[in-house]
């Protein structure tokens, strides 16, 4: 079954956005883990991908996710100044600032991409972040709806 067919089946039921979440190994990934062990409730739409540092995330990851059918991308990393590798998160922040402008120019709503800072102890912030992006993307509708 191709991805296109899958999406069609989903729109018939009730459409749920697919979110790709890139989480930093040192903070947000542990934060997401804590959210699970603390039994915090949050939408199940996010597919979490662990990266060693948010500085590892190239804009290509985000753009490829969107082109391949993700409706939104969440990036969760350490607070500025707390990066395990000292400045990886600041590098991502700069990339994302430019990328969001490029997204808007290309006609993709920048609200489809969200950056948040959540440390290993901030399970609630992580869960709230997922809720926020799911709500944002639900308001915008499926990315592919514009293609059909």
């Amino acid at each position: 079954m191709t991805t296109v067919e899958k999406t069609e089946v989903q729109t018939k039921k009730e459409w749920e956005p697919q979110i790709v979440a890139f989480c930093c190994n040192w903070c947000s990934y542990a934060g997401a883990d804590l959210a699970g062990t603390s039994r915090i409730q949050y939408p199940p739409n996010a597919r979490i991908i662990r990266v060693n540092c948010t500085g590892r995330i190239s804009p290509e990851f985000i753009l490829a996710s969107l082109e391949m059918g993700a409706d939104g991308v969440l990036i969760s990393g350490c607070h500025p100044g707390d990066c395990h590798y000292s400045s990886g998160n600041l590098k991502l922040r700069a990339r994302l600032a430019i990328m969001k402008m490029a997204l808007e120019q290309a006609g993709v709503h920048p609200d489809r991409v969200r950056l948040q800072w959540a440390s290993a102890s901030e399970a609630q912030i992580f869960a709230d972040g997922v809720t926020t992006i799911v709500e944002q993307v639900k308001a915008l509708g499926p990315l592919r709806s514009e293609w059909k």
């Binding site: 500085g55 753009l63 600041l90 120019q105 006609g107």
Partner: protein, 307 residues
């Protein structure tokens, strides 16, 4: 002397710059031309499209296609070239990645027609011409989605040296060997590994002639660009705009790679960047928009509108 190789050269929507660069090999033309049997070359030899259509399939050894396929005539020409040529070369960045003509994808076709014909500043009561003209495609797609190419020869234009190297290798039956380095490899400027403190427009300040332009704050995408140009621009004081596209494998997203590099070197405040980097899409994807992820999304959306 061996039998001359048959060659066809076709031009889609483009500026003729690549073929000009071919002619610019000057005296070497004397070596190359006797090796060629020109079967089709719109502006130079007196062959018509029906002549090209009349050749048997795969009867021409080498075909060069310059430019994108914006009109239906271009698309037909490109497909005919594919049928008639054994080796089809995507000649120049437009043909490989979309290049400058594909900046039209930033706007819809109607917006383009408004600027060019209806509200053209130099014309009164302008209207879109329709008579005797081929239809314009609603969105420009990369040539590689229409036909398959054997060889990609990027550049805006490909340098005369590159064309000579590629053509002689092809005509003598050798493999074309191209170095995979980026523009930075050929750049003589010194990098001190210091982060950027400010972003400058090309006309601001006076650049240090010996230091990396990106480190000085001028946006240079040389690090994400294939250095077949051997660093012409950067060594003469101008920033690289990325005209040779991404280094091999050339299917990667050049703009994304350039932003990745730029972000690593300039960990600045988002508000400051938003104020200083005015046109990121045109700055980082100037030559490769249609083959990039963002361009792909745009093409799918525009095509969906016409269905």
């Amino acid at each position: 002397m061996a039998e001359p190789t048959s060659i066809a050269m076709a031009q889609g929507s483009s500026c003729w710059g690549c073929f000009q660069s071919l002619i610019d090999i000057h005296l070497n033309l004397a070596t190359v031309l006797p090796m060629l049997d020109i079967k089709y070359w719109q502006c130079v030899a007196d062959f018509k499209l029906k002549d090209l259509e009349g050749y048997p399939d795969k009867s021409i050894t080498v075909g060069l296609y310059e430019g994108v396929a914006r009109t239906e005539e271009d698309i037909h020409l490109l497909k005919t070239m594919r049928e008639k040529c054994e080796i089809l070369i995507a000649f120049g960045s437009c043909s490989c990645f979309g290049g400058i003509p594909c900046l039209a994808n930033f706007s819809t076709l109607e917006e383009c027609l408004d600027v060019k014909f209806r509200n053209n500043k130099t014309v009164k009561d302008g209207e879109v011409p329709t008579e005797n003209l081929p239809k314009i495609a609603p969105v420009v797609v990369p040539n590689s989605t229409i036909v398959d190419f054997e060889i990609y020869l990027p550049g805006c234009p490909p340098t005369s040296k590159l064309i000579l190297t590629a053509l002689t290798a092809l005509l003598t039956g050798k493999e074309i060997e191209l170095a995979p380095h980026t523009v930075c490899h050929y750049c003589d400027r010194e990098r001190k590994e210091t982060p950027l403190t400010e972003i400058l427009r090309p006309f601001e300040g006076i650049a240090d002639p010996d230091r990396c332009l990106l480190e000085q704050g001028y946006i240079c995408v040389g690090s994400a660009t294939w250095g077949l140009c051997e660093g012409q621009c950067v060594n003469h004081g101008a920033t690289c705009r990325g005209c040779f596209g991404p280094p091999p494998p050339i299917t990667t997203d050049q703009g994304a790679a350039a932003i990745s590099m730029f972000g690593s070197m300039a960990p600045l405040e988002p508000e400051y960047l938003a104020e200083k980097v005015l046109d990121p899409l045109g700055c980082f994807w100037r030559f490769t928009y249609p083959t990039s992820h963002l361009g792909g999304i745009r093409i799918k959306r525009e095509e969906a509108k016409t269905k």
